[in-house]
């Protein structure tokens, strides 16, 4: 809305401030975070045991006739669990809460675009979790397993593809959050979103093990670009790295447009109803 009133520098400072607020809010929940980390290690271990029990031999066939070893599959599942954990902290940025109690009017009065506020608020939540993950990663590798990237290029591609993956997670989360303007209810919706997104992201099972129709469906949804795509690049199972990352970027743009469209309508709705 009135974002144009600020200089670029002022705006960046505002974004950083919004993220910081969320970071400090999150550290209050430190002990919760520790427990959810234990939960993560626990799931990593469990998934490993399930894969060990499921694998009949040391190799299994992927959907497209490729082979994937047990140890590679375990590495996938460990990496996916950790990455999903970082990108999807339980406490989202509290938009629904703020819509319900009317605080959103304050948010809207700030001279920074509402969508930007939401996005950077969520980024803050995730950044707050990073130190815990750095501590947890060695344990996760110990409990589960790890493999080096397929090649130096794959490693670099993985690092680069995490950026659009992160943005897509933020954008889909915000899109679900913004529906609170209409439903005034989000407990239910956000749980459904999380569960569906987790599954289609490949956080539990890689797309290559899904039955054909499910794999097709998953590959047409944005969620796979958040977890499955970066790891597939890492393991050298993705085809052309450049075009895969390009596709991720297309998703970023599409989702951003959808979010803007919804945000404009949500604001109009608030304006009409007087918040």
């Amino acid at each position: 809305m009135s974002g144009s009133a600020l200089t670029v520098r002022q705006r960046l400072a505002a974004y950083a401030g919004l993220a910081k607020i969320q970071i400090s809010a999150q550290t209050i929940y430190r002990s919760n975070y520790l427990v959810s980390l234990l939960g993560l290690l626990f799931k990593v271990y469990l998934l490993k045991e399930v894969w060990v029990a499921a694998y009949p031999h040391s190799r299994a066939t992927m959907g497209h006739g490729q082979q994937i070893s047990l140890s590679a599959q375990i590495a996938y599942s460990t990496l996916a669990s950790v990455q999903y954990f970082v990108f999807n902290p339980w406490t989202l940025s509290g938009i629904p809460e703020r819509v319900r109690n009317g605080q959103v009017a304050v948010d809207l009065a700030r001279p920074v675009r509402y969508t930007a506020q939401m996005t950077f608020g969520q980024a803050g939540v995730m950044i707050a979790g990073l130190p815990f993950v750095i501590v947890a990663l060695p344990f996760a590798i110990l409990v589960g397993g790890a493999e080096a990237p397929a090649s130096a290029g794959a490693g670099l591609g993985y690092a680069v593809s995490l950026v659009p993956a992160f943005l897509i997670t933020l954008l889909t989360g915000s899109i679900v959050g913004i529906t609170a303007f209409w439903t005034l209810e989000t407990d239910g919706t956000s749980i459904i979103y999380r569960m569906v997104a987790q599954f289609f992201a490949g956080a539990l099972v890689p797309l290559w093990f899904m039955p054909g129709w499910l794999e097709t469906l998953a590959s047409w949804l944005p969620f796979q670009a958040t977890t499955y795509t970066p790891i597939a690049i890492y393991m050298g199972k993705s085809g052309s790295v450049v075009s895969t990352i390009g596709l991720q970027c297309v998703w970023v743009v599409v989702l951003w447009l959808i979010l803007r469209l919804l945000a404009v309508r949500a604001l109009r709705r608030v304006a009409l109803q007087g918040g």
């Binding site: 939960g39 045991e49 399930v50 499921a54 209810e185 569960m195 987790q198 099972v205």
Partner: protein, 282 residues
């Protein structure tokens, strides 16, 4: 119009009613409270289904790919999962949203449950009826019934009866363990995370053939946190596997007794800890 003043005399108007009747009265109140908010019933229940369903979707994809896990077919694993989830659904539907228990106790809200002629736990459980829990129960029943018709079990009065008792007992096991953990909140301990962990263990480990895990984990899940009795042992009995387990066969056959026994234990623990309730200094 003026009403007559009343003389209450020496006899109070109230009397004690059986625990199940007060439970139903309180449940009715919680249920009506829930509908004061026009929450979307469908979405709330669906969120329960989604929460539980995604775990099953994982198993389903893996087993569909590999045929079996640890010698159990898809329908057999679904059967374990269905028993576990139905038992869980039964427990959460009757117990409401109790993860807030610690705050209820710390902030002295629990006081009000002690000055009414009804069980404190029944009042606590009916503090709020949480609609998504219906989704847990619903998905459990769907998976259980679908799987029961698929597995090569011989369904007769005896086996169906065993299944029903096992499901009830499974709900009691989870409930009893949750209540035991919760009891320690009366000693101003923070029990929320312990209870959360337990819930995690139940929902993450509970639906698998426990024999796929290393022996140490198996023993823990049998004798420390008696999860094996919830769904795995009953499934092993009903699919004719109870002979070759890591425990004597009679133990698996007795699993419907585990719930009632633990409930008795939980009752004692709850009562003994309730004495330590401190209310809150205002």
């Amino acid at each position: 119009m003026t009403t007559e003043p009343r003389d209450f005399g020496r006899e109070p108007a109230g009397r004690l009613i059986p625990w199940w009747r007060s439970y139903l009265v309180l449940l009715g109140a919680a249920w009506r409270s829930q509908f004061q908010y026009r929450a979307n019933l469908f979405i709330m229940i669906l969120s329960g289904v989604a929460w539980q369903g995604v775990g099953f979707a994982f198993i389903w994809v893996v087993v569909a790919k590999f045929g079996t896990i640890g010698g159990w077919s898809l329908s057999e694993i679904a059967f374990i999962y269905g028993i576990r989830l139905t038992a869980h659904g039964l427990f959460v539907v009757v117990s409401g949203r109790i993860f807030v228990l610690d705050t209820v106790i710390q902030e002295g809200e629990f006081d009000r449950y002690l000055v009414r002629p009804a069980g404190a736990l029944a009042q606590l459980w009916n503090r709020q009826f949480y609609l998504p829990h219906l989704g847990d129960l619903l998905s459990g029943l769907v998976i259980l019934i679908a799987a029961a018709t698929e597995i090569p079990a011989d369904w007769n009065v005896l086996t169906v009866g065993f299944l029903l008792l096992a499901v009830l007992s499974g709900g009691m096991i989870e409930g009893a363990l949750q209540v035991i953990a919760a009891s320690f909140a009366f000693r101003t301990m923070n029990t929320r995370q312990i209870r959360g962990m337990m819930d995690d263990i139940f929902s993450n480990f509970g639906g698998y053939p426990i024999t796929i895990f290393p022996i140490a984990i198996r023993l823990i899940l049998t004798f420390v946190i008696p999860l094996a009795f919830v769904a795995f042992f009953p499934s092993a009995v009903l699919t004719g596997r109870s002979g070759g387990l890591y425990v004597p066969e009679w133990l698996a056959l007795m699993s419907p007794l585990a719930g009632p026994l633990l409930v008795l234990l939980a009752r004692e623990v709850w009562r003994s800890q309730l004495k330590h309730y401190k209310s809150s200094g205002s």
